[in-house]
């Protein structure tokens, strides 16, 4: 009887120590859920969700502090994917939240730019090049369309221009065709 108890408690001790060590050894650096949520967010870093960037918003969602319907650039599809990931119900974009807009990029009117560098400091992805008293310009390929540079500009020389559809990014539309009505009616 005593031997059995000793063996069992000994085993428990050994396994406990192994588990404890393993927990320290393989400790997850960051919450993996945050990365999964962050991967779905559009990375515009626009702050329209009320958080200073996509990663903080992902963290807030993972802690259950923020709703999944606060990201206008992600749109309906983003909400759907977040709902899938988190096993939540799909909700429409939150109240007071801007509605999803067509993707656009910032364009600086170079005639009006005074080279104040305020937009450079506002850009969350360093997509504006320029220096003090030098003309600034937006690297269109890197601009996420967050609009954060528009407000700080003292001469209102930044406009958001919607990306026109061209051949390189045109998509095939969902097929729409006539269903034979009479057939459906007779079947139904």
């Amino acid at each position: 009887m005593l031997t059995a108890i000793l063996i069992m408690s000994g085993l428990a001790l050994v396994i406990g120590v192994i588990l404890g060590l393993a927990a320290i050894q393989f400790k997850a650096e960051e919450n993996p859920l945050v990365d999964k949520i962050d991967a779905i967010l559009p990375q515009t870093q626009c702050g329209q969700c009320g958080f200073p960037g996509c990663h903080p918003y992902a963290e807030a969602i993972s802690r259950g502090e923020a709703d999944i319907n606060r990201c206008p650039p992600g749109g309906e599809e983003g909400i759907h994917r977040l709902a899938d990931l988190l096993g939540m119900d799909v909700k429409p974009l939150g109240d007071g939240q801007a509605q999803a807009k067509p993707k656009s990029v910032a364009v600086i009117d170079e005639q009006r730019c005074i080279g104040c560098t305020l937009c450079l400091q506002a850009c969350p992805v360093d997509a504006i090049v320029g220096a003090a008293k030098q003309m600034h310009t937006v690297i269109a390929g890197q601009c996420t369309g967050c609009e954060l540079c528009v407000a700080p500009c003292p001469v209102e020389c930044i406009d958001m221009e919607a990306l026109a559809e061209d051949i390189t990014q045109w998509k095939w539309k969902y097929p729409r065709y006539d269903i034979k009505n009479s057939a459906l009616n007779t079947n139904g």
């Binding site: 990375q43 890197q142 996420t144 051949i167 045109w170 095939w172 097929p175 065709y177 006539d178 269903i179």
Partner: protein, 555 residues
């Protein structure tokens, strides 16, 4: 006789090829305006190198290859560039794309061009020559040839030349083989020189006996085999033709060079011959004009010729023409206007009428009869793909190898419910591509944002460090005092080292006078007045007067 293999599925649509093969290749007349798109190949559009108003020669390069995957574009005739602007082009979207508009002068003056002695040059230079002459795959995919001929790594053991031309109505490759077999064989020699394959085989469907005979005659005495293959759509697909001729299957998601095979269209071989042996860039191609037109035919057409000129060449469209297709009826695309120009990919234009193309009956629900699966040349399950694409379940569609679909349209053709299946696959594919593109853009934005955060943090700590250092220096009072002392001492030493210079070069009398004055200054004021003092006073009183005079003059 070569042992032939079969691929899964395939269909036998009505051919309609004889319609356009009874007359030899004609030459289309020079149009009044050429519209040359800068994007005539897969990859990046060519980079414009002319400006409106520029005079231009036939064969002059108007666009450079702009990227690794790109090819040059040339002026099809001499004349003048009248504009560079977006124009409707042959694209399923119907959207405009940048085109160079050329007004021909009718003189057809060539730019200087010369044959290339390819055997004396390293392969890379030959490939660059092909790129700069705008050689791309003319079978339909318009993939830049210089990339295809540079597979890298593993050796190529089989060169397959594609003369199958399996799609109904199209006869441009057929006529090219009948009339210009020698040129094609010459092109094949150049490809063989570059790739050094152990065997070369030309695959031609057995519904083209004249072409087979012509090619056999031209290949006589050359190490090139001509294989007549059974007529079955889509034998002309690259992977299907390789399977038929070699029995090898290109792995899912892979490319032909990975199994040691390269496949080239006959028309591409012909343009390689023109580019190397004559130094002529790709500025024209053989185009079939058929369907509901007065006299269907094949014509050698300058790239950039608007479709309406071709319709006129074929005697005009007959009544009942509803629309125009570029390519065949199975894989072709509908054109939105007759102003759309001929491009490198244009092998055929079909005037569509209800007589030849009765409108499809309305679609019915899928009954899962699996006839689509039985004809699929890639051995997919089209009914499943349809289901997933329809439900926007793209991940699942990819699991079912959506991207191995060659969009041949065989499933559409046999579907008893007349469901436009390929449209669903195209929709799903472009959605997946767009999602992947967005994902890449998001990843890039995340990286930039993270780096920015890191940079701001770094700048902050650097600033803090600097500040800490500065305040640390000030806090020890003695050090500071000593530093100030040292600075004052340095300043004084510097000051004392400087002697007044304006008295150095005076005559001796003046120096004596100065010395005397200095000596007197040393004496107390109330001391006895020396006899010289009168003169001194006079000088003093005179000085202000002189200054007044000077200032007066200045005024």
């Amino acid at each position: 006789m070569r042992k032939l293999f079969t691929f899964h599925g395939g269909i036998h649509p009505p051919q309609h090829k004889a319609l356009s093969t009874h007359v030899p290749i004609t030459r289309a007349p020079l149009p009044s305006l050429l519209v040359v798109p800068l994007r005539q190949h897969i990859g990046a559009a060519a980079k414009l190198r002319v400006r409106p108003g520029d005079p231009i020669l036939k064969g002059q390069r108007i666009g450079d290859a702009d990227n690794a995957v790109s090819a040059a574009v040339h002026a099809p005739t001499s004349g003048r560039v009248v504009a560079v602007e977006p124009r409707p082009v042959a694209h399923p979207s119907g959207l405009p794309d940048t085109c160079v508009m050329i007004a021909p002068d009718g003189e057809e003056r060539w730019i200087a061009h010369a044959p290339l002695d390819y055997s004396a040059l390293p392969p890379s230079m030959v490939l660059d020559h092909l790129r700069d002459n705008g050689v791309v795959g003319l079978g339909g995919a318009v993939f830049p040839t210089h990339i295809k001929l540079n597979p890298g790594g593993g050796a190529i053991h089989t060169l397959v030349i594609n003369g199958a031309e399996c799609e109904p109505w199209i006869t441009s490759d057929d006529m090219l083989m009948r009339e210009r077999a020698a040129g094609i064989v010459r092109g094949i020699h150049i490809i063989r020189h570059l790739l050094e394959p152990t065997e070369t085989v030309i695959g031609i469907e057995d519904n083209k006996p004249e072409a087979i005979a012509a090619m056999q005659a031209a290949c006589d005495g050359h190490p090139i085999e001509v294989a007549a293959i059974p007529t079955l759509y889509p034998t002309g697909g690259e992977k299907q033709l390789i399977k038929v001729l070699t029995g090898k299957e290109v792995p899912s998601g892979g490319r032909a060079y990975q199994i040691g095979v390269i496949c080239m269209n006959v028309a591409t071989a012909y343009t390689i011959y023109r580019a190397i042996d004559h130094g002529e860039p790709v500025i024209s191609r053989i185009v079939t004009i058929t369907g509901n037109v007065q006299s269907p035919q094949n014509a050698e057409v300058l790239l950039g010729t608007p479709l309406k000129d071709l319709i006129a060449l074929a005697g005009g469209a007959l009544p009942g023409t509803q629309r125009y297709l570029m390519g065949g009826p199975m894989m072709g695309l509908e054109l939105s206007a007759t102003e759309i120009p001929v491009v490198k990919a244009s092998n055929c234009f079909i005037a569509v009428s209800a007589r030849h193309f009765p409108p499809p009956p309305p679609a019915l629900p899928c009954i899962r009869c699996t006839r689509c699966a039985s004809v699929c040349p890639v051995d997919l399950r089209p009914y499943e793909l349809y289901w997933f694409a329809r439900g926007n379940n793209f991940g699942k569609a990819q699991e079912y190898s959506l991207f191995d679909c060659i969009e041949c349209g065989g499933c559409d053709y046999v579907c008893p419910s007349h469901i436009p299946l390929v449209q669903y696959y195209r929709f799903a594919k472009s959605e997946i591509w767009a999602q992947e593109k967005d994902k890449r853009a998001a990843d890039k934005a995340r990286q930039h944002h993270e780096f920015r955060q890191f940079r701001l943090e770094r700048e902050k700590t650097e600033k803090a460090k600097k500040h800490a250092k500065a305040t640390a220096g000030a806090s020890s009072g003695d050090d500071k005092k000593a530093a100030i002392q040292a600075a004052v001492a340095r300043a004084q030493a510097k000051k004392s080292a400087i002697t007044p210079k304006n008295t150095d070069n005076l005559p001796p009398q003046a120096q004596e006078a100065i010395a005397a004055i200095d000596a007197r200054r040393g004496q107390p004021r109330d001391a006895s007045i020396s006899p010289l003092s009168g003169a001194d006073r006079e000088e003093d009183t005179m000085k202000p007067a002189a200054t007044h005079q000077e200032t007066g003059e200045e005024r």
